[in-house]
């Protein structure tokens, strides 16, 4: 199923020894990563290891101290979109207005509205366009944020733990929604998550960041949609968690490492 996407729509991503310091604190040492167009990459790692920092660099919200980031292949209008951990909807704009934020101002108002309405249908919120964000549930707000992020037909979609605050059931629903939209639209996706099993359910490739570098790069070549009880997923999860726990031991006794 993952072959049904159109790789021409996604952006290619290349990071060469990208580093970021905050004062004396080196958060990212040197990250080398090549992501082919249309791939779904999940980034995992301990809290504070620099996942959000990396994503903000990819979104051009921040500049790297060292190294280069290049976004290959037909960098057109849609460009890069970041979906934050919080929905970050404008409380004074109705749902439709919030989705229109994602549509370029270059479009005529009527076509912006039409595009936004179409996306609301896609994320399963048809008929809620005139509601205020304040009356939506947490999961619905994240869906509006997803619609907003996709409204410009981005070639690269960055997701910073967008499902962290949702309950287990809504989380699974949102994961399926993201997977479906990714398969339909063929954008390149980079998902930051705390949840190893979420990473394995969604991604073609799971990248683990540790001590400012990529420590593990695991390919997940399993058919979609993936079932959570798939034994191969379980084995991969075990392997990654083992690495993380070993790493924790090394932290406690750095001399032995």
């Amino acid at each position: 199923m993952s072959t049904s996407q159109d790789p021409g729509r996604g952006a290619q991503l290349r990071l060469s020894s990208v580093g970021r310091d905050f004062g004396a604190n080196t958060v990212l040492r040197g990250v080398d990563l090549q992501v082919p167009a249309g791939q779904f990459v999940a980034i995992i790692g301990r809290s504070g290891c620099g996942k959000s920092t990396l994503l903000r660099l990819l979104a051009h919200l921040d500049q790297p101290t060292r190294g280069r980031i290049s976004l290959g292949a037909g960098e057109a209008a849609g460009g890069t979109r970041l979906m934050f951990q919080e929905p970050r909807l404008l409380p004074w704009a109705r749902v439709i207005g919030n989705v229109e934020v994602g549509v370029s101002d270059a479009n005529l108002p009527a076509s912006r509205r039409e595009r936004a309405l179409g996306l609301l249908v896609e994320v399963g919120l048809a008929g809620r366009e005139d509601d205020w964000p304040g009356v939506l549930s947490g999961g619905q707000r994240q869906r509006v944020a997803l619609a907003r992020a996709l409204a410009s037909r981005p070639q690269l979609l960055l997701l910073d733990e967008p499902l962290g605050a949702l309950d287990a059931l809504t989380r699974i629903e949102m994961q399926r929604l993201i997977e479906r939209l990714w398969l339909d639209q063929g954008f390149t996706a980079v998902l930051v998550t705390h949840d190893v099993s979420e990473a394995l359910t969604l991604a073609d490739r799971v990248v683990l960041i540790d001590r400012g570098e990529i420590a593990l790069d695991v390919r997940v070549d399993l058919p979609r949609p993936r079932r959570r009880d798939n034994p191969e997923l379980g084995a991969l999860e075990e392997q990654i968690l083992d690495y993380l726990l070993d790493g924790a031991n090394k932290d406690q006794a750095p001399a032995a490492a």
């Binding site: 979104a59 919200l61 460009g79 979109r81 970041l82 934050f84 919080e86 970050r88 404008l90 409380p91 004074w92 704009a93 109705r94 934020v101 994602g102 370029s104 101002d105 205020w132 304040g134 907003r148």
Partner: protein, 286 residues
């Protein structure tokens, strides 16, 4: 799965049982409560008016201390027929609005400028905050020396009084807009103009309205003082003239008209606020 469904069922059953007990339609209940609320609010003022009227008629209060409400109404009617009342109200209203417009626009403009630009804020904010400590009514003698009892004096005082609350609240509003939303706007490619129109201004609006309503209060207060001390027309002048001729009913009338105008200005501001802050939980129609 099966165990969880059997756990859910009783809860639903309980809710079903509770639902049909609502017999009185909700709108009727709301109406009853509204009428009761409004009624309760009016009992005391009407009662006081009745006591006041009775006290005046029975001679407990001298006409020269506090005339009966009916006497005040009569005075209003006489002045209305002479055409004087509307002239005075018009003059005072025009002064209030002009002073509010001038002070409000300057305060709003400087508040925006200092909220949006660090350079501008560093340059002017300290000075503005320092002058804020001078009560503007303390300037009355100085203002009379400068402007005499011209329109300029009233305009200056009202504008000065209105300026600060609007300046401070506009600045505060812009500075406290959620930085995460600003970042979102930038990440989604908003230009500075769009960011201002779609994020900063709407985010600052609740605070700006606080400033406007506060400013309206100061506007009337300043005008009353200015017109009482130095004017040759307007409601305050009318009251002072009446005092010289011991027309206490006209003095009371002027006070009541000031109160009504103040209430009117506040209601208009509230209505505007409710209209433009529909999204805000505290203004959402229930």
């Amino acid at each position: 799965m099966t165990t969880s469904t059997s756990g859910v069922l009783p809860v639903e059953a309980q809710q079903d049982e509770a639902a049909p007990r609502r017999e009185v339609p909700t709108w009727l209940k709301v109406l009853q409560v509204r009428v009761a609320d409004a009624g309760a609010g009016w009992v005391l003022p009407i009662g006081l008016l009745a006591v006041w009227e009775a006290a005046a008629r029975l001679g407990f209060m001298a006409e020269t201390i506090l005339p009966a409400p009916s006497a005040v109404l009569l005075a209003a009617w006489t002045l209305l027929l002479k055409g004087e009342l509307f002239t005075h109200i018009g003059v005072s209203g025009a002064r209030a609005l002009a002073g509010f417009a001038v002070g409000g626009l300057i305060g709003f403009g400087l508040g925006l400028a200092n909220g949006l630009s660090n350079v501008s804020r560093k340059f002017t904010d300290t000075t503005l905050q320092m002058t804020r400590n001078v009560p503007h009514l303390a300037l009355v003698p100085l203002v009379i020396i400068w402007f005499g009892i011209d329109e300029g004096a009233k305009l200056f005082l009202v504008a000065l009084g209105v300026f600060f609350p609007i300046y401070v609240n506009t600045l505060l509003g812009i500075l406290t807009v959620d930085p995460q939303l600003v970042e979102m706007g930038r990440a989604y490619g908003m230009s500075n103009a769009t960011l201002f129109r779609r994020v900063l201004l709407p985010g600052a609006l609740p605070s700006i309205f606080v400033g406007v309503r506060y400013g309206l209060g100061i506007m009337w207060l300043t005008l009353i003082v200015a017109e009482t001390i130095a004017a040759s027309s307007g409601l305050g002048y009318m009251a002072m003239q009446a005092r010289e001729f011991l027309l206490v009913d006209v003095v009371v009338l002027a006070i009541i008209i000031y109160a009504l105008l103040g209430k009117l200005a506040d209601s208009v501001a509230r209505a505007l606020e409710r209209r433009s802050l529909q999204w805000h939980p505290s203004f959402r129609a229930s």
